[in-house]
Each structure stands twice: as structure tokens, then as C-alpha cells.
């Protein structure tokens, strides 16, 4: 009966825009209201509310205050994640984790300790701008943005980002000149693992000069940033043509306005709709204008953990005709440069992602699970059970309330004295997946609440900014016509995409159950 109603609802909302918008508003409000509205009373700086916790945004905010938890019975809890038999997701293609990583690297930015610096307080802090601002493309600071822009004196083109063309394909410039970072790019955040690859010119010679320190982390992420790089320059060229009197600065700024909004549209209309099922969300900015939850964004320490979806990454990925074990893709842009952007998107859309959950993280990524568990302890997060209650879900009374999987239950029993001791990060991934969704319940609920309340409150979507004047007539048209990565890719690869090429996050063979 419920299935039937959902289908009827989906049908009606698809056909009648006015109803569709009302349902959209209703459901988004419901999803956001599952958790407490911002401002958060606490951050990682103090265990109590202080002016610093309310204003100093270099600390991560927190949904729940610090709490003492009983430590697990043993110190190998990360084995909970260790992949046994690889499980693939029937629903998600590899485009899903590629986009998720690109998206979250932009604003979930735990500060990495400098060499010799202890984890505390570094890992309680963040380098985030706390906005969806395409910082992997544009950088985090005005100085970084300037370094990435093509000088208008050196070129007759206005508003462009620096690029190179290789075999007819437009990419970012390379970061290194031999073994050295080019002086013009010194101001950029260094790629995160670049120290580990110092001297390995197979790797360093192909690193791109990107705004984000994680945008070279894997060829899938570099692929995503390359797409938005091309789109930015395409938009700049369009704006320049339509407004011959505008200077370099204005062409750049307006192209950026459009690019950020395109990105947010894809977050809501492709990415969230892939996660959800039954309703088709639309990126309607007016939902947020008068909403009580429209309060300044501030990334939380909980959000930084819940988005570590390592199990989405399969052991092996295909780029063109070649198989790459996951270890060989780290910081390696060769697969992308070899196949080019179109083929990269086609390949990522043709392969299944891994399934989120226990016992499904590739061996090479297991150390990141350990780091996540340790970060949760460092920040003294409340228990998984506390977060269930916080998100208006039932607390588990026994371990078997968490999962229907006997192996999962048995691991948890072996690791924790009581069900209330289960840690947030472990509990998140211990739950069964929601029907027709790639995510389990608590994870899905916290993702949805934060995603909508952060994406739709972007200042470019605000009441007195969201109009044609901010984006130009041409830009506004592009915004209206874009709802998926495919739309953007189509206009940024030679000859466009033929109609039968599948580009998407939801595998074409998948059927809802």
C-alpha cells in the first residue's frame, strides 16, 4: 500500500509542477527538522558554550556535546570495516562516490597536522569555508583564486582559469616543473599526500594545479574538477561574447556565480535524488528563504566523519581497457589523461560502486578507517545510540537492534561491553541499508538534514540574489537547463555525447524493490 502511494505521489508530482514544488518544500522541511537547527551551541574548542564556540569557525561545530564513552574491549575496531568478500552496490555507479568525494572535499576539511604536530588540536579543527563554493576548483582564499586565474594581460581572453590543451583536451595546468612546484602555484594548498610521492615523477609530473588539496587524490576526483574547469571557461567565453564591455574581473565573477549554482543544482537534483527514492527533489531556493533552519553553515565534526564512504570504492576500477587496483589510482592522474574526459565519465558510469557498510573497505584504505575512529575518540563524540536519539530515531536496546547481519552483531558484541558504548562512526556503518537507498538510516538522515540546510542556504540562492541579473540572461538559461552531470559533460567534450551514452550515478540495470 505504501509503495503504491509513493508511486502515485511520484506520478502526480512529476506531472503537476505546483504540487511538485509544495511536496518538495514539505519533505525538505521534514528532513531538515529531524535535527536541531543551527547555530550549534558547541564546537570542538570547549566542552561548554562560549563566544569562541559560537564564532571561531576554525573549530568544527558539533551536534552533541563531548561525552565520556567506555572504551571498546579491544583496539582493533577498524577491522569492522575490513573487506572480506567485496559487495557491490546494485544501485550506485562509480560516478556516485566520485561526485561525493569531490563535493565533500570542498567543505569537509579536517585540518591535517603539520609534520611533527600532534593530532590534538589539529584534527579538531577545520580549514573549511563552511560553504559549497567549489573551492576544489577556485581555491579557498582570494590569493589562491588569483593564482588559478589566467592573467588578462597575458591573454585576450577574459575571466578564464589557467588551462593547458593536451591532445585536443582541456585540463588544468600541471603543478610541478620537474621536481618543484611552480612558483606561481606556491600559494595553493599542497596536494595532501604529495610528501609521500616526493621524487616519484610518474605521479608528480601529472598532478594538476587545482584549488583543492584533495582534488588530485584520485583520477575520479580530478575528472570531476576537470569538468567544472572546462565549464567555467566555457561560461566565461559565453559571458564575454554577450557582454563585450565587461572586464576580466566581471566575466570571471559572473562565470563563477553560475558554476557554483550549477554545482548545487547537481547536488540536489542528481546526487540527492540518487540517494533518496520515491520523491524527486528539485533545487528550489525559495524553500529556504523564510525557513527557520536558514542559519549560517558551520561544518560539524560529526559531518566530517559520516561522509567517509570508503567502502564505495571497489578493489579494482577500469579506465579504458585497463584494470587499476585501488592502490594504483591514488594521486595518479595517468588513467584520466590516457582515456580523456568523455571516456572517463562513461567508464565511471558503467561500473558498480562498492556497497556502504561493514566488512567492505578495500585493504589499502583500512588505515583511513582507523584514523576516522581515532578522530571520533579525540573529539569525544557521544555514542551511536545518542545520535540515533538526536536524529529522532529509536535507540537500540540490544546489539541485534542495530543490524540484521549476524556477523555485524557478533563483531559489535565482541568489541563493546554494552550497546550504549557503540561508537558513532562504527554504528553509522553497522546499520542495514535503507530500502532502495545506498545509505543506512541514521547516516541518510544526517546527510539529508545537513545537505539541504547547507546547499539551499547558499548566498547565491538567497531571496534577493536569485535572479537573472546575478547570472546574466545566458547564464540563467544554462542554470535552468542543467540538472545532471551529463548536461555539463555534453557541452564540454568534442562532438558532445551521443544519445546512447549513459552518464549517471544510478546504474541503468537497477530496479527499485
Amino acid at each position: 500500500m505504501k509503495r503504491f502511494l509513493v508511486k502515485v505521489l511520484a506520478f502526480v508530482t512529476d506531472k503537476v509542477p505546483a504540487i511538485s514544488r509544495k511536496v518538495n518544500r514539505l519533505i525538505i522541511n521534514r528532513l531538515v527538522n529531524h535535527v536541531r537547527h543551527r547555530p550549534h551551541p558547541w564546537s570542538t574548542v570547549h566542552d561548554y558554550t562560549s563566544w569562541t564556540s559560537l564564532t571561531d569557525r576554525k573549530w568544527s561545530a558539533r551536534h552533541l556535546p563531548a561525552k565520556h564513552l567506555e572504551r571498546p574491549k579491544h583496539d582493533r575496531v577498524e577491522e569492522f570495516f575490513k573487506r572480506q568478500d567485496q559487495r557491490l552496490s546494485p544501485k550506485s555507479t562509480l560516478l556516485f562516490p566520485a561526485f561525493a568525494q569531490y563535493l565533500t572535499d570542498g567543505f569537509i576539511r579536517t585540518r591535517m597536522p603539520e609534520a611533527g604536530e600532534p593530532d590534538d588540536p589539529a584534527r579538531k579543527q577545520t580549514t573549511s569555508n563552511h560553504q559549497i563554493d567549489l573551492s576544489p576548483l577556485y581555491g579557498r582564499t582570494p590569493e589562491q583564486t588569483a593564482a588559478l586565474r589566467l592573467s588578462s594581460e597575458a591573454s585576450d581572453k577574459r575571466g578564464r582559469l589557467k588551462t593547458q590543451v593536451r591532445e585536443g583536451e582541456e585540463y588544468a595546468e600541471f603543478l610541478y616543473d620537474g621536481t618543484q612546484i611552480k612558483p606561481e602555484f606556491e600559494v595553493l594548498d599542497r596536494p595532501l599526500m604529495s610528501d609521500a610521492f616526493a621524487g616519484n615523477q610518474d605521479i608528480t609530473s601529472r598532478l594538476f594545479a587545482f584549488g583543492g588539496d584533495r582534488a588530485n587524490a584520485s583520477p575520479q576526483v580530478a575528472m570531476m574538477n576537470s569538468l567544472f574547469l572546462r565549464e567555467h571557461n566555457r561560461l566565461a567565453s559565453m559571458i564575454e561574447a554577450a557582454n563585450p564591455s565587461w572586464d576580466d574581473e566581471r566575466v570571471f565573477q559572473v562565470a563563477r556565480n553560475i558554476a557554483i549554482v550549477l554545482f548545487i543544482k547537481i547536488v540536489v537534483e542528481e546526487y540527492i535524488n540518487h540517494i533518496a527514492w520515491g520523491v524527486r527533489f528539485i533545487a528550489d531556493p525559495s524553500v529556504a528563504w523564510n525557513a527557520p533552519w536558514n542559519k549560517p553553515n558551520w561544518m560539524t565534526t560529526e559531518f566530517s566523519l559520516l561522509y567517509r564512504w570508503h567502502s564505495l570504492i571497489p578493489d579494482v576500477m577500469k579506465w579504458g581497457d585497463k584494470d587499476y587496483p585501488v592502490g594504483e589510482t591514488i594521486m595518479n592522474n595517468k588513467p584520466l589523461l590516457d582515456v580523456g574526459l568523455k571516456r572517463a565519465f562513461v567508464d565511471m558510469s558503467a561500473q558498480h560502486a562498492g556497497e556502504i557498510g561493514a566488512f567492505n573497505t578495500a585493504a589499502g584504505l583500512l588505515r583511513f578507517e582507523k584514523m576516522a575512529i581515532e578522530q571520533g575518540r579525540l573529539c569525544r563524540l557521544a555514542s551511536y545510540s545518542d545520535y540515533r536519539a538526536y536524529a529522532s530515531l529509536k535507540r537500540p536496546n540490544k546489539f541485534s537492534d542495530i543490524s540484521s547481519n549476524r556477523e555485524v552483531v557478533s563483531f559489535l558484541e565482541g568489541a563493546y561491553e554494552r550497546v550504549d558504548d557503540v561508537e558513532y562512526y562504527v554504528g553509522l556503518f553497522a546499520e542495514d541499508l535503507e530500502k532502495n537507498s545506498p545509505l543506512p538510516a541514521l547516516l541518510g538522515r544526517m546527510v539529508a538534514a545537513d545537505a539541504f540546510s547547507q546547499a539551499l542556504t547558499n548566498p547565491l540562492l538567497s531571496e534577493h540574489v536569485w535572479h537573472e541579473q546575478t547570472f546574466t540572461k545566458e547564464g540563467w538559461k544554462v542554470i535552468i537547463e542543467t540538472g545532471a552531470l551529463r548536461d555539463i559533460l555534453d557541452r564540454n567534450v568534442k562532438g558532445g555525447l551521443s544519445g546512447d551514452l549513459f552518464i549517471g550515478m544510478t546504474h541503468p540495470d537497477w530496479k527499485p524493490s
Copy 2:
């Protein structure tokens, strides 16, 4: 009839708290809704909406976009402000400008050009934290706050700010040691005009180590900061006694939470109620919780100009038995140290302030009027007429629509070709005062909209922070019991205040007409 209704309303709302709260909410919403809600589409960085204009808060936001205005017929427009016969305000005492200056110096902070630096872009920028955060007391940055705090190792007292005691009176420490700023205070913003007084030890030897670079600008402002300094230390001592296990940091932070909220209560319940008439506003945080105008604060370039109330300062002020011409009070803390804090407040409450408006700025302050006019031009502000329309007021059709004062009209006619050319800053102060208020209409409307939407959206007043736990039981009681500067002064001067001592912004002889 209207007078009668206002009186009935005032009577009823005074007697029935539930009605009072509803009326309060209704009127505050109406006042805030006279102007557009934030986020502002523009800042002083670009003439169009850009990601920078929406996010880079070192630029001033703007209510209206940049516009080309016809220049006035002559370049002596500042003479519009030149005091002829001093007019005193029947309503306002000198406590009103003292508080107004102290309040606004905390967050209206046009960036001053460095030596040799041009005005553009410096004066388009701001060093504001964009919050009512008592930065004159605590500093603008964590490093400044640290420099102002008493080290808990050097003392058995917790959570205190550094002070000295002189003749039984508690003041901030002095900033200078001989002709040098003490090394511990190097990190503070230098007092604004300290270069002009370099070598003048009569002045520099009495400058206080304050958080704010304008808090030494006059003894009235130093008086205000000294009051909140004493109150902070009193609160810290109270919290320490009630919570013997708390460390220095927590005692400090919670005392600061309380002090900031006390300050905001006085902004609404004493200061705004002095400006307004007919309704008694209460600082009810819940008014803002779900309001569509609860959006992040961002100081505007218009706000930074409209608050330059130089004409409130009379030619001569009495401190104790001595008359001080205004020029002798600049950067001079001697009058305050001579009479002490109690007498200073009594004296400021006994004298009439000047009246806001044309031809009433003391000669010594006229150069600040010229700077304000130039800043308006630098930022290419729209016209006075445009701001009337923006604030839902009628545009003037002719010069005599602006003022009923023939001299004012005649000056404007001599200065501007058309009524639409009248500059914002001049027009603001050309209007007649509102009945029973110290402010004219447009000025009052813009002050009210910004004041409420900035004060009540303070994070300490937010829905999940505004409770006893944030302030302690003792702190909460202090908050409830404080509604005026008199309340704070009473507990911070020896022997308190006897009942017949008047401390207030509204002169006791004043009667509404």
C-alpha cells in the same frame, strides 16, 4: 487620538506581559521589514553581485548598489554641519552619545588607511567582526583577548581581565610604559589617534590597555569600557565562587557570555527605548528565532555613515567641577581618572547632549563630517532620495520636502542642482527630528532595522543557547535583573548608588510633547 491610543497601548503592554511580548514582536518585525533582508547582494568590492561580495567580510556590505550622482555645486558641503548657535537636546543626556559611540565602535569599523596608503580601497573595507561582541573590551581577535586576560598562573584569581587599582577604583592597566607601548600589549590595535599624540605623555601615560582602538578616544567612552571591565571581573568572581572546580578558561568564557548579553539587553531596553517613544521594547530573543530576517550580520557602508552623530557632542562638558572644551577631551582620560567612575556617570547623566541635525557640529569635529561625506562619495552611495524609497518612505519632490527649516532648505538649494542629487549623508541629517525622538525619520528607520536584526540575532540569544546552562544559574539571574546601565554601575562602585542619584540617557526633566 493617535497620542491617546499610544498611551493606552503603552499602559496595557506594561501591565500584561503576554500582550507586551506579542506587541514587542509585532513592532520589531515591522521595523525590520522596512528594509530588505540580508544577505545583501552587494558589497563595496564589486558593482555587481559576486561570490566575493557575498562572502568576503573584509568589505562593507551595501543596502543599495553603487550609483553615479551629480556632484554638488561647491566643495564645502561639510559646512552644512558647522555649529552656529549650539542646540541642546531636551531629551538626551550625554550618556546617550557615550553609549552610542561605545556600542558602534565595536562593530562599525571602517578600515583606516595605513601611513601613505590611499583611501581607496581602505575606507571601503572594514575590520569588523560583524557582531555585537564587546570587542572594545575583549579585543577583536583571540590573540588580543589573550593579551587582555590576567594569567591564571600569575594570580589565584580565575577568568579575570587585567586591571589596576587607583585610589580604590578598578581600571584597565595603562597601555604605555614611558613612551613605549608595553610589549604584552603590542598585539592590541593601537589607539586610533595615538600617532598624533606621540610624545605627549600627559595623554599617552593615561591611555588604557583596551581591546578597542577607539575605546580611549574620549573619557566618556573609556568610562563605558571601564564599567564593563569591572562587571566582567565581578561576574568572574561570582562564577568562580559558585563553581570552584572550573578552570580559568571556563570562568572567563562564561563571564564573557553573560557580559555580552548584558550589553545587548542595555542596547535594546535602555538605548533603543531612549530613541523610540510610545512602546517599551524588551530584549526577547525568541522574536528572532524563526524570523525570516534572522540572517548573518554584515555591517553596511551605509550603517557606518549614518551613525556619525557628531552633533550630539556639545562644545563644553563638565567633569566634576571642571569644564572641558570638546577638543581637550579627545584621547584624554584625565577627567575620568580625576572624578572616578560613579561621578563620571552622574555627570554624563546630568548634562544635555547636543541635538542631531544641521549646523550643530562642534568646530573641532567638522573635519570628521568632511571625511564622512568623502567616504560616501568614495563608495558611490546612491542618493538620499533613493534611500528614502528603499526604507519605504516617500521620496522628496522638492528641497522643502526634506526639512521645515528654511536655513537647511536654503543650504541644500545652494549645494545641489536637484533634490535627487542630495547625498545620503547630508540628507540623513537634514530632516526634521521625529516627534519625541532624538533622531530624524530615515535615520531612525535605518538604525532600528539594523539594530534589531543585528542585536537579536546574536548567537548567544539563539534558540538552543539561550538558557541557564550557557550562563550559570547565578549569571541567568544577573541577566534577568539587568535592564539599564544604572543596574551595572550600582554593583561596581563602592557603596553602590544611593536611590536619588540619576543615571540615564533620558533627561529627567524631559516630557513627551
